[in-house]
Symmetry: C2
Subunit: 258 residues, 2 copies
């Protein structure tokens, strides 16, 4: 938090940004090109286990992950934590703080992680700059909502443990692919416990599932890395995908039913 602020680009290499189809139609490129003049973006480094912030703390900044990964979680009084989500390259954390000026979840580094922090004052600057910024802000917030909706679909449904893990692995793989990395060799910087918490399961169940999937020749699992040998089989396990894009015909059909 201390130290002199330094103006940086959001992405060290523009290449990452250009290739990142994940970040919702590359809104970040727009922000990068149009907004960053004069806005202080502070690089910060966190080591494994360190917290970017805790739930309840006053919102100081908005963070974007530049390298590494983090988990965001809720913490109950007895100390047990509930993992809400994992966030990697290019993803934002801290957005919920805009609700009332306090963070609503705790975010912890899963690895050595570098982030870009934009202080609250600079964020306000953004908002006052141009009218286009408003639309972009809304976009990024909406993306965050959508991501959580997807998670609710993933783990909220009455899905089996197998379906959940399969969906989870495919989701992580897709994120990586979108960032220009391998779509089959996926990094899992989080612990089994974290995965279990996120999927609403137990550590043991996750282990057994990994073992079973390995036995089926679908994956190859190491501690921090899983290779998807048969993504299609995983997709079959994961079950029905939710329809996001719907053609007019389907809409009409459904409307006619009523």
């Amino acid at each position: 938090m201390g130290g002199p602020n330094k103006v940086l680009r959001f992405f060290g290499t523009r290449r990452n940004c250009a290739e990142c189809a994940m970040n919702h139609r590359c809104m970040w490129r727009d922000i990068e090109s149009r907004m960053l003049e004069g806005v202080a973006v502070v690089p910060e480094l966190f080591r494994k286990g360190e917290a970017l912030f805790h739930a309840g703390e006053p919102m100081r900044a908005l963070y974007m992950v530049r390298s590494g990964a983090v988990k965001s979680c809720l913490v109950s009084q007895d100390g047990s934590e509930q993992v809400i989500g994992f966030h990697g390259l290019g993803e934002l954390v801290g957005l919920e703080g805009f609700a009332d000026g306090r963070y609503a979840s705790s975010v912890v580094a899963l690895d050595t992680t570098s982030v870009c922090a934009v202080g609250l004052d600079d964020l306000r600057l953004w908002g006052q700059r141009t009218r286009e910024i408003h639309a972009l802000s809304m976009q990024m917030m909406a993306c965050a909502i959508r991501e959580r909706n997807g998670l609710l679909g993933l783990i909220g449904g009455a899905k089996s443990a197998e379906q959940r893990l399969a969906s989870f692995l495919l989701q992580v793989a897709e994120k990586q692919r979108a960032c220009g990395y391998s779509a089959t060799v996926v990094a899992l910087p989080m612990s089994r416990r974290d995965i279990a918490s996120h999927l609403g399961l137990t550590v043991e169940t996750i282990c057994r599932l990994f073992t079973r999937m390995r036995a089926c020749g679908m994956i190859e699992a190491r501690r921090n890395e899983v290779t998807l040998l048969d993504p299609e089989a995983l997709a079959t396990l994961a079950g029905e995908e939710f329809v996001v894009e719907e053609d007019a015909r389907a809409a009409d059909r459904r409307a006619a039913e009523q």
Copy 2:
């Protein structure tokens, strides 16, 4: 969507808004008082089962529930649906549309429901009006994110069916209380199936839980209405609450651990 637009206040009766502690520090009062001059807010009426919009459709408007209730859900290819959330008086639906101009979930009326619809053009007007609007927009989006985080905590965790239902009932009761209605007699306009889908359980399990809770004297369950006879017992069942407000001491303690 056709027909002449008509300028309205967000809330027919200001009283509702003033009493609604639920809507996250009453940001709507601010919006109501500062933003609505000249913005067309179109009242629309939906009957039970009718859809406000479907996932994939182009975003036409942002809706606020004035009376009744709606569910938002994802629909899979085989027609089965996954309920993401329920939204009642004063709540917004359609926010995710800002991501790419298309709705990402389907929203269906659970009852005869009246909403205020603000068209996309008028929404853009908002964004260009004043700089305060930007902060308010961010607030309402952040609230939506936070709400979903809460849901992820509620159903994502490895909680038992009992815990989930108890939490759900208390949450609905709290919403009602915040809107000035009874905190013990809660309306459940959604079907058991919807509740089950939302909590990641089956219809039968929900029924059995209602029966069991009734037998314990904790609730009194009718079709569309549940009376909480012993909220404290329910709270005990629900288990640990997540810490949202954290004093400096706790933060320091945790920081010291590392």
